[in-house]
Each structure stands twice: as C-alpha cells, then as structure tokens.
Symmetry: C2
Subunit: 216 residues, 2 copies
DNA sequence: GCGTTGATTGAACCATGGTTCAGTCATTCG
DNA sequence: CGAATGACTGAACCATGGTTCAATCAACGC
C-alpha cells in the first residue's frame, strides 16, 4: 500500500490550490463575478475544469475562499496603515484613505467583493467581507468618539454608510473618472467621509495627507 | 378584412402591459432581480409565459420598462417633496429624507433598481435610474452651494457618494434593523449626509424634521 | 352564425454554465 | 520494472431559465 504523499506533492497541491484562487481573483478583477466561471478559471490556472473539483467541493466554496483571501489582504492593509498613525482620528483617516486608494486600484475586485450579488450561498461570504470591513471602521470610529474627536453617533450605522459612500463615490457606475487624479479623488472623498462623521476641518488639520499605499 | 382594434381591446392590451410591469415590480420587491423571471412574472400577471413576448421583445426590455417606471415614480416623489421646501438647503434636505424614507419602505426594489447587477444590457437601464437620481441630488447640491449654504465641492462626486451612503446605510447587508424606528434611522442618516456636505448643525437648524412621505 | 384575424397558450427548444465520471496519466514503493 | 494509488482530463450530463411556435381561442364585421 504505497503512495504516502511526498513533500513535493504536498507543495504542488498547495501551489495549485493557490493558483486556482489567484486565477479566480484575476477573473473577478477583470470581468466581475460573472467572469468567475469554472472553465475559464481552470484554463487560466492551467488545469482542466474537472480538476477544480479536486480542490473545491463546488463553485460556491471557491468563491468563498476567494473572498476570504481578498478580505484578509484588504483589511490587513488598512489595519497596518491605521496602526502607525499617531492618534485615533488620524488612524481612522488613514484607514479610510487606504481603503479608498486600494479600492480605486482594484475597482472590479472590490466591487465584486462588496456589492455584486451572485447567489444566496455566496452572499454569506460577501457579507463576511463587508462585516469585517465595517467592523474595522466601526472600531476606529468608536475610538475617535471615545477620545472626544468625533461627536456621539451610531458608529455601526456610520461605518455601513461609509462603505457605501466610498464604493459608490469611487467605483460605482457614476463615479467620476479618476485616472490621472486618483490622489485628488481619494482626498476629496475622504474629506467628505470625515465631514460626515463630524470633522469640520479635516483638511486644515492635515488629516488627509496622502501616504504611500502598500502594494501587497 | 375586419378586426380594427376596438377601444375595448386597446384598453385591455394597455392594462395587460401595465399588469406585467406591476407583476415584475412586485417580484423584484419580494425577491430582488433574481425573482424577475418570465414564467413567474407571467403567472403573477395571470397570463402564459409566451404572452409576455407579445408585449415585450425580451426580458431585457421588460426589466428596462420596469426600471424606467420605478425611476419616474421615485424621482417624482423626491422632486415634489423638495419643491415645496422654502429654500435650497431645506429642499436638498427634503429630497434626501424622502429618498431615505421611500428606500426603507421598498428596500428590495430600490436595491434592485440601484445596485443589483443582472447583465450588461440591463445595467444600462439601471444606470439611467442612478443617473437620474444623482442628477437630482447634484442639482439640489449645486443650488445650495450657489446660495452659499454649502462649501464649494464637487457636487457630482458628492451626489454619487450620497446614493451609496443611503443605500448601504439603509438597506445594505449591514444596515441596522430599522423596523419600529424608521423615523430615527432616516433622520440620523440624513443628518450624516448633510454633515458630509458640510452642514455642521443640521439638527439645530431644523432641517431634518420628518414630513409625511407620499405613498404613490 | 361564420370567416378572418389577431391574441393566447404552454410545451418544446435552446443556451449557458456547473457538475460528474470513466478513462488516462503520474508518482510512489517493493 | 510493475502494481497500486491517487491526480488529471474533458466530454457528457444536468438544471435553470429565456425564447419560440404550432395549435387554440376570442373578438370583430358582415
């Protein structure tokens, strides 16, 4: 009874698993969720359609894995940006700007991950992303309120609304064309968001200075 | 060569046309765009599936007609609310509150009409709705800026962002449960929206007093 | 009534896209 | 090597849902 999975095989399997998710992510970023189809994703990953089913029980699970991966990556990025800020308000501001900047860079992917419905099962995974995102914002908003930097308000409601504000302002169907002036659009929308939270003079206070946005 | 369409027949055909759209609207408001399927809509309208095709060339056209109808109805409502307001800022406020209140009453329908993608062809019709909505907001915002009631800003960007703010804050997947406290949620979000536009003290100025929202 | 014309029906058709699986290939171990 | 085991393939399968159309029905004008 031979065939103990050798180290090499394990590595190859893991690599393929990742390659499938990466292929799905690329497809989503190019054509939205509608483009995440088994056959094309498989082709992109260099395997046959059937093989996908050796790695994921079904399409739903693949998409869920994709969304989880995207969520971790995005939320990690804004957490890192916020954590180096000097105070609660600038941490919040940094998180917002980072989200805005990254959203602009990966428009379709973020749209797919936050907004675009597919079916009831996948909705749950998308919800997790939004939840994590909103939770991150809620936490930062609450901190700022606690520190007296923002007026009392329903942080949860505000966070949910902010996600919508950014998504629609940046990559919604009516979002202005930002090419060549990304920085300006990101700053302007962050300013609007901060005003929405009750910061009257964000610009004067230097809260919306652009920092480098990590690539990872 | 008899059979000139008699008056009665014309009426019946028109009524059926309307009944199909109404059935589609009800379906959308109950189950989102996914529930707008030819067979169920036909059943709801009391006709056979094939008959739909005597009234609409295809599903796309039916959905487009539905969205057009919804757009007219909704935008009419907020225009009426704004037009009776005493000044530009309260007109803007009235439009926002009306949109919020009506959105809360027809959650799925508004979500379907603003956000839920279906396919490329239908997207165009949804875009028209959003455009009309955003245009209405843009106009009101510009008026308020011109009158010196709001700081200078990109009214188009702000309008697009506000649509997102409301949709996500009210009916997005993370929107708080508003049942029983609709008024409060509507006011709170309108307040947030006005703050986003640069109105620091909307509540003090009595801008978010609830008015009756028409039913039509 | 009755012929003519248009409206209606609903089952068959078709396209799309996820899923399965019998056959083939690759890797391990004695 | 060669037997055993698992991975891979891709064409066939299936479900869903829009669309078509031959048969049927209903209304009009004579």
């Amino acid at each position: 009874m031979p065939y103990r999975r050798t180290e090499n095989v394990v590595r190859r399997l893991a690599a393929r698993h990742a390659a499938i998710i990466a292929a799905a992510r690329d497809a989503a970023n190019e054509g939205g969720m509608a483009a995440v189809q088994i056959a094309p994703v498989a082709r992109r990953a260099g395997i046959a359609a059937g093989t996908v089913y050796r790695y994921f029980p079904g399409k739903t699970d693949l998409v869920a894995a994709l969304l989880t991966e995207v969520a971790e990556r995005e939320i990690g990025a804004l957490r890192r940006a916020a954590d180096v800020a000097p105070g609660p308000l600038s941490a919040l501001s940094a998180a917002l700007m980072t989200f805005a900047a990254r959203t602009l860079r990966q428009r379709r992917l973020v749209f797919a991950a936050t907004t675009e419905p597919v079916d009831a099962e996948i909705d749950a995974a998308r919800l997790d992303f939004r939840k994590a995102l909103a939770a991150e914002f809620t936490r930062r908003i609450s901190n700022a309120i606690a520190g007296g930097h923002l007026p009392e308000q329903d942080a949860t409601l505000a966070a949910a609304a902010l996600v919508g504000l950014f998504v629609d302002g940046l990559i919604g169907p009516l979002a202005p064309d930002a090419s060549g002036r990304e920085r300006e659009v990101v700053q302007s929308l962050t300013l609007t968001a901060l005003r929405a939270l009750g910061v009257a003079d964000a610009r004067a206070r230097g809260l919306v200075v652009q920092t480098r946005v990590s690539d990872q």
